[in-house]
């Protein structure tokens, strides 16, 4: 899933300084699962902003709405009747959701309440970790199911750099060395010989370096 984290209340409050009425839009997809932009977080943020503004003597009116997914135009359309009299729309979706709202409500000011962090998963309740670099050219079959593109701080393709020690990355002792993990897994699978092959340079044109990407499936077009 896409993992996101809420911006500090003060930062969000500063972004809506000039607004008197705002619409907060939560999302029931990824950001709800990672407890950043679901129903509860949306309500809590709305009341926090109201309280802050009340204390400042400049009351704020809030409206809250949930959508199934902010990354689908059909769900965004369900908000059509809610945006008319608000000054600002606050999205608690990921960066995709913010943009879908901005596209649909072209004449409204839309701001992000979250920082979209990464594609990852939960490792325990309340903790999420990055797992996929979204590089567009998966090589996990060559690296024991552990992604060096995003889990190695240098995206190395051919083994650990000189900074790997005791299974940890040189940047921080809390960060596991991806190549150490790859080595251990390949060893347990009896496939260490695979790591002796020099992996070729990556074709980054399949990543963001090739420009914004698009996936097309003509076979499922409805026409």
């Amino acid at each position: 899933m896409i993992v996101a984290e809420q911006k500090p209340i003060k930062t969000i409050a500063d972004l809506i300084e000039d607004s008197n009425k705002v619409l907060l839009v939560g999302c029931s997809a990824c950001v709800a699962v990672c407890l950043a932009g679901g129903e509860k977080e949306t309500e809590v943020l709305a009341s926090a902003l109201r309280i802050k503004r009340k204390q400042e003597g400049k009351p704020l009116e809030t409206v809250t709405k949930m959508v199934t997914r902010q990354c689908d135009p059909e769900y965004i359309a369900t908000l059509d009747d809610s945006v008319e009299d608000v000054d600002t729309i606050i999205s608690l979706g990921c960066g995709v959701g913010v943009q879908y709202l901005a596209e649909r409500f072209y004449n409204k000011w839309v701001i992000p309440a979250l920082d979209t962090k990464f594609a990852g998963g939960s490792i325990e309740h309340g903790q999420w970790e990055e797992r996929c670099g979204l590089c567009g050219d998966c090589i996990l079959h060559r690296t024991g199911g552990i992604c060096p593109i995003i889990r190695c701080s240098k995206s190395l393709l051919n083994g650990p750099c000189g900074g790997s020690q005791d299974g940890k990355c040189e940047i921080n002792k809390d960060v596991p060395c991806a190549w150490h993990l790859i080595y251990e897994r390949m060893k347990s699978l009896g496939k260490l010989d695979k790591l002796l092959e020099i992996q070729p340079p990556k074709d980054w044109s399949r990543s963001r370096d090739g420009g914004p990407r698009k996936v097309t499936r003509e076979d499922v077009f409805i026409d």
């Binding site: 240098k154 393709l157 650990p160 750099c161 020690q165 990355c169 020099i198 340079p201």
Partner: protein, 307 residues
């Protein structure tokens, strides 16, 4: 001889090779580099010019290399994969060679989080393995990385890489060295050696696989100024091991600096006898002045000269 590199000449002569290291300054004056070149000239065969080491902005390694060439010291320019993509790196290889530089050391590079611009973006378009392959491909096949022909003068570099016998997983370290040799590395400089026992185990495996016959390995030596420096390196630098006995020996010494030099001299005399070690790379961090003394005390002076 594949190149005009003085370092390659010394290796080919069979002499035990000596290199040192100069960290370029964080300003635009080359005076200090000229001074260190004068200090080192007769005592080393070549000197590394680091490439924004520890991710701190400094005079570029190629510019530093030109300053050394002007002072008749063979520069080994370091090139990391951190700051440039494959386009910029190949452009710099062409440019460096056109400026008279012919010896290079390919590395991944320290992560920028350690430097003075921790908010910067790192590149790592290619890794050190690919960089070694690229330098060799440009030289031996007269081709850019993409396969396009180099129609005029190709850059002809003597190609080095680094190895850290003290990084983990230990069992993979010789594999990684072998990959670098397979990629085209012709000489190797190791990380600073303090744990001699582990280095000897590493070299045994290197020789068992015959890698020592395919590449020139230079043992990295760093003289320590104090027990605190020793402990700091051991505890805070990823992939470095400093045994307690070295810390204790420095702690117990009346003159820690003198003892640090004694240890370095002993280490060099020791690695000279290890099979497969063809040279020593002295990294006297902010202590370049002591390199001549170390070289002389190890019986490595004078250095060979060629016409």
């Amino acid at each position: 001889m594949n190149t005009n590199s003085h370092l390659e000449k010394v290796f080919n002569s069979g002499e035990f090779v000596v290199s040192a290291e100069i960290g370029p300054p964080k300003h635009a004056s080359a005076e200090g580099m000229h001074h260190y070149a004068d200090v080192l000239r007769d005592y080393v065969d070549a000197a590394n010019i680091t490439d924004n080491q520890t991710a701190v902005v400094r005079i570029s390694s190629i510019a530093g290399g030109v300053h050394l060439n002007n002072k008749n010291v063979c520069p080994i320019i370091q090139m990391t994969c951190r700051d440039r993509n494959r386009i910029a790196m190949q452009a710099d290889l062409l440019g460096a060679y056109s400026l008279g530089i012919n010896t290079i050391l390919c590395l991944s590079g320290d992560h920028q989080i350690f430097g003075n611009h921790p908010t910067s973006k790192n590149v790592y378009d290619i890794d050190s393995m690919h960089l070694i392959q690229t330098v060799r491909k440009m030289r031996d096949e007269k081709q850019f990385m993409c396969g396009e022909e180099i129609k005029n003068q190709e850059p002809r570099f003597f190609v080095g890489a680094v190895a850290n016998p003290f990084g983990d997983p230990f069992e993979f370290r010789v594999d990684r060295l072998e990959k670098k040799v397979e990629a085209g590395a012709e000489f190797i400089q190791t990380q600073c050696i303090f744990d001699m026992e582990r280095f000897e185990r590493y070299m045994e495996e290197v020789c068992r696989r015959g890698i020592d016959e395919r590449v020139h390995i230079m043992a990295g030596i760093t003289p320590l100024k104090s027990w605190k420096a020793a402990r700091y390196i051991g505890n805070n630098v990823g992939g470095m091991i400093v045994p307690d006995e070295i810390v204790e020996r420095l702690k117990g010494a009346e003159d820690q600096k003198a003892e640090g030099l004694n240890i370095a001299v002993e280490q060099i005399n020791h690695v000279k006898k290890i099979k497969g070690v063809h040279g020593v790379h002295i990294m006297a961090i902010a202590w370049e002045e002591k390199v001549p003394e170390i070289v002389e005390r190890c019986g490595l002076y004078p250095r060979p000269k060629f016409d």
